[in-house]
């Protein structure tokens, strides 16, 4: 899978959920590269702003979109890594 495809996949996900991808293209591309690198290395798209602990149950939570992203977008206007942002943020 390529960066463009990953970005398109998350753009569609964001649209379905009622939020947006970060309008800063360079931020989105950097995160998408991180997700792709981690997928190639560890088999899953772990968030590039979170540590892989080695605890399977905990690490499942950091697969993008992560366990916390909805709450973070609601409370702070964006997720930790800044991939997803609230409309009118």
């Amino acid at each position: 899978m390529e960066i463009k495809e990953i970005i398109q996949e998350y753009r569609e996900y964001a649209k379905k959920q009622g939020f947006l991808l970060n309008p800063e293209q360079n931020v989105v591309e950097n995160i998408a590269k991180g997700l792709l690198e981690r997928e190639q290395k560890f088999g899953k798209r772990f968030c590039p702003c979170r540590r892989i602990t080695g605890n399977k149950e905990e690490d499942e939570k950091i697969i993008c979109p992560c366990f916390w992203h909805l709450q973070e977008i609601k409370e702070k206007g964006k997720c930790l890594c800044g991939l997803f942002v609230r409309e009118n943020n």
Binding site: E24, N26, V27, I31, G34, E37, P48, C49, R50
Partner: protein
């Protein structure tokens, strides 16, 4: 805001030390001044945005604080020890012990005020 290239973050930055599992304890415990450690990762957007802010603050606080960076991928043992599970995370150490810290991207003024307050509280 322009996102700096992650490769540029650690080159030609004499004001900021690069720490890893090999040198972390030695540098933190042996420092004559408090040390602000920026835990970061290469593909973390907020970390890259924070980098130029910290470079500026490293110059402003050069007489009071040592600024350091820890790439989580190069310091897994240190990350586990301090339970750093997400980045960017700042921890201010003094005499080897964590004094204060914060998580996430913040504006320069807010970080400056936090550093001033932390130093004052600690009697530095």
């Amino acid at each position: 805001m322009t996102l700096p290239d992650a490769k540029e973050i650690l080159v030609n930055k004499p004001m900021i030390q690069n720490l890893n599992d090999e040198n972390f304890d030695k540098e933190i415990n042996g420092a004559k001044k408090p040390v602000l450690v920026d835990f970061w990762m290469q593909r973390c957007g907020p970390c890259l945005k924070l980098a130029p802010i910290l470079e500026k603050l490293a110059e402003d606080f050069s007489e009071k604080i040592i600024f350091a960076k820890v790439n989580l991928d190069e310091a897994p043992a240190t990350a586990r020890k301090y339970e750093v599970n997400m980045v960017p995370l700042m921890i201010l150490f003094d005499k080897g012990k964590p004094l204060s810290g914060f998580m996430g991207l913040r504006p320069e003024k807010e970080i400056k005020d936090w550093l001033d307050q932390s130093l004052e509280k600690n009697g530095n």
